[in-house]
């Protein structure tokens, strides 16, 4: 039997606070989540404000300035086309964030809808869908991605589509597991006993209770997508030059790393901190909300 006062209703500060304020405060108390979300927000801010942070153009080729080391004009030096490395790194988040977040959002949204629906529906539909998704999961994501991108060309929209295609099944699995955890609970049963339809049950009873799972899933998935998209850029399937994109920059400059370390290291650091931020967010949030992440294997 539970001995602690942790859930005791008499603890005063809990009883009076507004729910939203409460979760905000809880969030602020979780250092992991704070640092993580802070990093992500910082990246978002830098990407959005890049034009204000630097006056240099991220794409102008200045042959006379090629391959400079760090100096007062170019804090992180220039690349082989004479472009300012710092400027390109600052702008670089725009592509990575926009594409990754759009792709993640699509995959998570679609996966959530499918996952909830199949969990509630159950029975043969669920069985069939899960079987098909299993088969999709069995195909290596990178292969599917490469094929889609080769066939349709490497535009941002195509990448969003391809990532959605590849990651939706995995989101479905996680969300379905979470929804299955909620579906047999008595408040859902109560709604079913009232004879409510599936959609209202989903929206009113199930979704609010797995929203935290979805949020953690989003953060986690986004970190994978950021890496995946940078890999695609690295393999030459990502952004078109001269787009300032971290993966592309790493790929463009890595050979010269010995003589020009910052042109490669700066985008690596930018990429890594974003991924660290997303991972910490996922960690912090899941610990805060007690999300079971064992389904996340994929």
């Amino acid at each position: 039997m539970s001995e602690s006062n942790r859930n005791s209703p008499s603890t005063p500060n809990r009883a009076t606070a507004h729910p939203a304020g409460r979760s905000m405060r809880a969030l602020l108390r979780s250092r992991t989540a704070c640092v993580g979300l802070g990093l992500v927000l910082l990246h978002l801010a830098v990407a959005a404000l890049a034009p204000l942070l630097t006056s240099a153009s991220p794409t102008a080729n200045v042959p006379d300035d090629a391959l400079l080391g760090p100096g007062s004009d170019h804090w992180l030096g220039t690349d082989a086309l004479g472009r300012d490395v710092l400027t390109r790194v600052l702008y670089g988040g725009q592509y990575a964030l926009a594409v990754s977040f759009a792709a993640t959002a699509c995959a998570v949204a679609l996966g959530t809808v499918l996952g909830c629906a199949t969990a509630l529906k159950g029975g043969r539909t669920d069985g069939a869908l899960m079987r098909v998704l299993d088969a999709v999961l069995a195909i290596p994501p990178i292969l599917a991605l490469l094929v889609v991108v080769t066939v349709l060309g490497a535009g941002p929209l195509v990448i969003v589509l391809a990532v959605t295609l590849v990651y939706t099944p995995q989101v479905v699995r996680v969300v379905r597991a979470a929804a299955l955890g909620v579906a047999p609970l008595d408040y859902v049963t109560a709604a079913r006993a009232r004879g409510e339809r599936t959609l209202p049950i989903l929206l009113r009873e199930v979704l609010p209770n797995i929203v935290h799972v979805v949020a953690v899933e989003f953060a986690m998935r986004a970190s994978w997508v950021v890496l995946l998209i940078s890999s695609l850029s690295f393999l030459g399937f990502g952004a078109d030059p001269p787009t300032p994109d971290w993966g592309l920059m790493i790929s463009e400059n890595r050979t010269a790393m010995v003589v020009l370390p910052w042109a490669t290291l700066a985008p690596i650091i930018a990429l890594a901190t974003l991924v660290v931020g997303l991972n910490l967010s996922a960690d912090g949030l899941s610990r805060l909300w007690n999300v079971d992440r064992s389904e996340e294997a994929s």
Binding site: T59, A60, N61, P63, D64, D65, A66, L67, L68, G69, P70, G71, G77, T78, D79, A80, L81, G82, T150, G153, A154, F234, L235, G236, F237, A239, D240, P241, P242, L248, S251, E252, N253, R254, T255, A256, M257, V258, V259, L260
Partner: protein
């Protein structure tokens, strides 16, 4: 400045799955060369002009990293998927091309034509044996030539030779003499035989040559696996004398970055068919294991406009594009000066038949031309790839410089491996290059003549074709030169190819390598060696 003549190159190998994505990247070659001294925080190590020379050690094994032509590559010289690096080591041609672009003897000691330029007689070198010990005779030479003409074999060189002769015209009056009777007069015929598809193989060896690699060259085959590794060893009885090296090992690597890393890590000694970008070249030159050798004007870069695709069907648009871009900017950004301007003429400067010609950059004229063509604010996609590290910088610099003329270029990156199957001759505008080292006649016929298989701009101009025909059948050298020069001007002014520059190839090689010499398609396998 030495010039690089030569024969032909890349497109024949269209189906290769070469290279590297992953790899290298945009970036230009840079400045260290003449006139470009940067005062940046990082002074670049200078790039040596040529390879080290000296007296090499006796023997030794040279390791070459090479891009495979395909997983199905072969040692058959006539095949479109021939493994280029092996050919020069294993075989000889009747004739080859020297550094000045002149045709010089190889297995043919001397040759002459009748006055019409129709009947050519080659007197063959005596006492030459194939690796299997059989004696080389005119039968082998005739067999080689007839094979090239065989439509079933579909050799790329067939498209050049077939209009000139048929296999009935190949005669072997005696074992030491080969006689060729052309269908149409051609005073440039021997030059066409310097092509690397024209290596001589033993009579009747067609079915086995792809694997046996039996030739008369300085090395004989020990091992070869398509798309993989292989090894050739010195042929002691080579007619020019034994080569310096004991053996050469060849490693196929598609990724340009992988090749570079292999060189830097000391796993290989030479990167074949690999033009390093300037930044990488600096890294290599700075390494204590490897260095750079330049092959001057080894390739010309080109932005072919497909004249059969909108909007380049209109000659005004083509002229506008040519007037709009600034080749100096391209040369600076993409090559950092390690090359010379091309002036939209693909024939290398200072080679025989080269036409001097300049094109003025004039954005206003470009605008006017576009407006005349009803193409104000032209928008085009320019395809590029990491196939060659210069493509993307060149494309970006092009994009910069045509902006003044109101042309909006979108650079699209395409996969390197399928670049020559999916993009080349398919997309209206892309970046590509050719190796210099092919005779002007072959170049102009193969790349610009109506209907020719490598006519990458799909340009069709009867007056141009007529000029070429006239030049070939003209016995008088000066007159012939003028005709060829007229043809070049036509290409520059009306054709679809924008040729901004000729570039030096920056070849990565080990500091242990001595006497590396390569120009055009001629690689000196005989004298290359290792430091004692």
């Amino acid at each position: 400045m030495p010039r690089s003549p030569g024969d032909e190159r890349v497109p024949p190998r269209i189906r290769r799955r070469t290279a590297l994505l992953g790899g290298a990247a945009a970036v230009g070659a840079a400045g260290l060369a003449t006139g470009c001294s940067r005062t940046g925080a990082e002074a670049a190590p200078s790039i040596p002009e040529g390879a080290a020379t000296g007296t090499p050690a006796d023997g030794g094994v040279l390791r070459i990293a090479r891009p495979p032509a395909s997983q199905a590559e072969t040692l058959d010289p006539a095949d479109s998927l021939s493994a280029y690096e092996y050919l020069g080591a294993l075989y000889n041609r009747l004739v080859r091309m020297d550094d000045d672009g002149e045709t010089v003897p190889d297995l043919a000691a001397e040759w002459e034509s009748d006055d019409e330029g129709t009947i050519w007689t080659f007197r063959l070198r005596e006492g030459v044996d194939f690796h299997d010990g059989t004696r080389f005779t005119s039968a082998d030479a005739a067999y080689t030539l007839r094979r090239l003409l065989d439509p079933d074999l579909a050799s790329p060189q067939a498209t050049v030779l077939t209009p000139l002769l048929s296999s009935e015209g190949v005669h072997t009056p005696e074992p030491g003499v080969l006689q060729v009777e052309l269908d149409t007069p051609n005073f440039e015929f021997p030059a066409l035989l310097t092509n690397y598809h024209c290596y001589v193989v033993p009579d009747g060896s067609g079915d086995s040559i792809g694997e046996s690699g039996i030739g008369t060259g300085p090395f004989r085959l020990e091992e070869f696996s398509p798309g993989g590794r292989g090894r050739v060893v010195a042929h002691d009885d080579h007619w020019e004398g034994r080569p310096v090296l004991d053996a050469i090992e060849m490693f196929a690597m598609t990724d340009i970055q992988a090749r570079t890393n292999a060189l830097l890590a000391g796993q290989v000694d030479l990167l074949s068919q690999t033009n390093l970008d300037f930044a990488t070249a600096r890294v290599v030159a700075a390494s204590d294991r490897a260095t750079i050798a330049r092959s001057v004007n080894a390739q010309w870069y080109v932005l072919p406009m497909l004249t059969t695709a909108e909007p380049f069907t209109d000659v005004r648009v083509r002229r506008a594009m040519k007037a709009a871009y600034d080749p100096v900017h391209l040369l600076d950004v993409a090559l950092q000066g390690t090359g010379v301007l091309g002036e939209d003429n693909p024939v290398p400067p200072d080679t025989p038949y080269w036409a001097e010609h300049t094109i003025e950059r004039d954005p206003d004229r470009a605008r006017a031309l576009l407006s005349e063509a009803g193409r104000d604010g032209l928008q085009v996609d320019l395809y590029t790839s990491t196939y060659d590290p210069v493509f993307t910088p060149m494309a970006l610099a092009f994009r910069d410089s045509v902006a003044d003329a109101g042309i909006d270029v979108r650079v699209r990156n395409a996969s390197a491996d399928s670049y020559y199957t999916q993009i080349w001759m398919q997309r209206p505008l892309m970046a590509t290059y050719w190796y210099t080292g092919r005779p002007a006649d072959q170049l102009l016929n193969q790349v610009f003549r109506s209907g020719s298989s490598y006519n990458e701009t799909a340009w069709s101009a009867p007056d141009f074709d007529d000029l070429l025909d006239a030049a070939r059948s003209t016995a008088d050298e000066d007159r012939r030169r003028r005709l060829y020069q007229d043809a070049q001007r036509l290409v520059a002014e009306e054709g679809g190819a924008m040729t901004p520059m000729f570039a030096d190839r920056l070849v990565g090689l080990s500091r242990e390598v001595l006497n590396y010499h390569e120009s055009g398609f001629e690689f000196d396998y005989l004298n290359i060696g290792l430091r004692p």
